[in-house]
């Protein structure tokens, strides 16, 4: 039984607690000087990979956990966090600051690296909190011809293969597949650990290999053009009514009854 070689793509996004602001030109979200951190769903992916290793959930063991990031120069901070949480090493595909990479291009880069690094499991977040595409995991599976178990809330290994409990509307659905496969992580999969200072120090010694999209033979050409970015309309306040008659009158007024 071969060991797991897990690739975990992680993305540097605007921190979840920051309120995003649209730039003056209405073309994008303002990112200059804004706090950034690892996509919360990606934290779940790193945590799950490390837990599979620590708990020895898979009989073949975990040979390597490789973190990958595609983004501007500051993305290395996110890779350092991933390694502080337990990833063994990282791969960094640098792009220009402000340049957006579409999920299809990300998927193609991941495909090349899966082939290069002999990966048998890709564990990614179900979506990123900035563009919310939710496509990367599925695209990778499609490109590789692998199965994809998305919105995972539980991952277990057994005689029959890899069992994944997925979160679906109204409950969960369990699927089983063989390696190699793609798993995308959902909120209730685990509780990501905080990187302690000693681990952050240790992570500084771990390797980050840099490679470009060109070297991987992947074009970052965009297929979509963003025309406009606007904030959602402000919430209209509710109105108060005196009594039940007042409420019925108001509903009639609004044409609801």
């Amino acid at each position: 039984m071969s060991a797991l070689r897990i690739l975990v793509p992680v993305k540097r996004v605007i921190d979840y607690a920051v309120k995003p602001r649209v730039n003056k030109a209405q073309t994008a979200i303002e990112t200059a000087g804004v706090k950034h951190s690892m996509n919360p769903f990606d934290e779940l992916s790193i945590e799950e990979s490390v837990r599979i290793r620590e708990k020895k959930s898979y009989a073949g063991g975990v040979e390597e956990i490789i973190a990958l990031s595609i983004g501007p120069p500051k993305s290395v901070d996110v890779l350092r966090t991933a390694m502080a949480m337990g990833a063994d090493r990282s791969i960094f595909v640098e792009v220009k600051d402000g340049e957006e990479v579409e999920p299809l291009a990300v998927g193609k880069i991941i495909r090349r690296l899966v082939e290069k690094e002999k990966i048998n499991m890709v564990m990614c977040g179900k979506q990123s909190i900035d563009d919310d595409s939710g496509q990367t995991g599925q695209i990778v599976a499609g490109l590789m011809g692998w199965g994809a178990a998305t919105q995972a809330s539980k991952v277990s290994f057994g005689e029959g293969g890899v069992s994944v409990e997925k979160e679906v509307d109204g409950g969960t659905e369990t699927v089983r597949s063989q390696l190699p496969m793609v798993i995308t992580t959902d909120l209730r999969l685990n509780e990501p650990r905080y990187a302690s200072l000693p681990n952050i120090m240790k992570a500084k010694k771990k390797k980050i290999d840099k490679i470009t999209a060109e070297e991987l033979g992947v074009s970052l050409e965009k297929r979509l053009k963003t025309l406009k970015v606007i904030e959602p309309p402000p919430r209209k306040g509710g109105g108060k009514v005196e009594d039940v008659d007042g409420m019925i009158a108001k509903l009639k007024e609004l044409g609801a009854i």
């Binding site: 979840y16 905080y194 200072l197």
Partner: protein, 86 residues
């Protein structure tokens, strides 16, 4: 200042540094957190008995776990509110 137990001193400094690092993400701001953390440790600077210092370190470890739980819950609840709409 002569320290009777340098290993224990290192432990105290280590937990202080961990808490300081955690404080960088504190909702009310690092500037709120840092002086309060410093005061909390400084008020116990006169302790000499090993068991008292140990108790202090344990309390600091407890506070660290509480802060980590606070951060996790805040993030979990925000993410759930945004992404769990059925």
């Amino acid at each position: 200042m002569t320290t009777p137990n340098p290993a224990l001193r290192r432990e105290v400094i280590a937990i202080y540094k961990e808490l300081l690092n955690l404080g960088k993400a504190y909702p009310l701001g690092y500037d709120y957190f840092r002086p309060r953390l410093h005061k909390a440790f400084a008020s116990n600077a006169s302790l000499t008995e090993e068991k008292d210092i140990r108790k202090g370190v344990e309390r600091a470890e407890f506070v660290k776990k509480e802060i980590e739980a606070l951060y996790y819950l805040k993030k979990y609840r925000s993410m759930r509110q945004r992404y769990d709409k059925l």
